[in-house]
Amino acid sequence: MRVRQPARAVALRGRSQQVLRDHLSADSLTSRRDYLRVMTTVSGGLTVGSLAVSAGVLHRHGDAEAADRLAPGQAVLFTYPGAYDRAMAVRLADGGVVGYSTVCTHLACGVLWREDRGEEGELYCPCHEGAFDIRTGQVTQGPPPRGLPKVLMQERADGSIWAIGTAYADETVPPAACGRLGAAHPRADAITCHQRANGEGN
């Protein structure tokens, strides 16, 4: 049996449906005033961001923390000059920093830093017991046919250490490496070659 609804209830339901349809299809109620407030907030956010950047929230490549300092006898691995060219920097006992490729010239095994070998430590290849002098990179033992390619290191006044170029194993660093470095980085060449001329470089 069907129950007849009062006409007033039907009218109310029709009215509510109409209101709902109008509400759903109405224009956005975001006004220019709201938009102005939002953009002012964005402006404040950008100011805070800039403040954080200036205060040093971003990490800079090469920033040296006290804990990151390379102590005498310690080594650090990195890639240079390409992302797949493995290299190593070693702090010598006298405070100097030397850098070499860690790819053995014999069969391309990874070369290790062994502080306990030799007088000042050696770069040691565990595959066939090759060893390289830490100061010159020349072969001191084993089958490698030539010394390790050098990576030229520069330590700056702020304590950061930078790889700035490469040199062949049999190359005395100053003339040839300096010239090649100058071709790629004229400014770096001016600095390092000037130091070298004054007897400060390696």
Partner: protein
């Protein structure tokens, strides 16, 4: 805060400040803000809800000013990051000063008429 301090949107006559649907039963939400039946600023026949249309234009102008400021701030932020990464900390702080000044102007542009529409 608003300028002038005694400004309030709408008319001094309360009957003209009734909600739009009450004053114009024919206008529905789907009519949009710019209903063709609202011909003049009020009060009077055909008036909309805005009694001082020049404030509406000012609101648009202020919004444009703030948008320009935000564009400038985005540029300044990129400059600040570049300067910081290159080690020019002083330049980064100058950019931050510019950002702060820009924000204060934007804040003023917003606060000077919070009731405008």
């Amino acid at each position: 805060m608003s300028f002038p301090p005694d400004y309030h949107p709408g008319s001094d006559q309360p009957r003209l400040n009734r909600p739009v649907p009450e004053r114009y039963p024919q206008i529905r939400p789907t009519s949009g803000y710019a209903d063709a039946r609202i011909l003049h600023s009020g009060p009077g026949p055909g008036a909309g809800t805005e009694q001082e249309p020049e404030r509406s234009a000012l609101l648009t102008a202020r919004l444009l000013v703030v948008l320009s400021i935000v564009v400038g701030q985005l540029r300044a932020l990129s400059l600040a990051v570049d300067a910081w990464m290159e080690g020019h900390t002083g330049t980064a702080w100058w950019c931050t000063g510019f950002q702060l000044l820009s924000f204060l102007i934007a804040l003023g542009a917003w606060r000077i008429g919070t009731q405008d529409r």
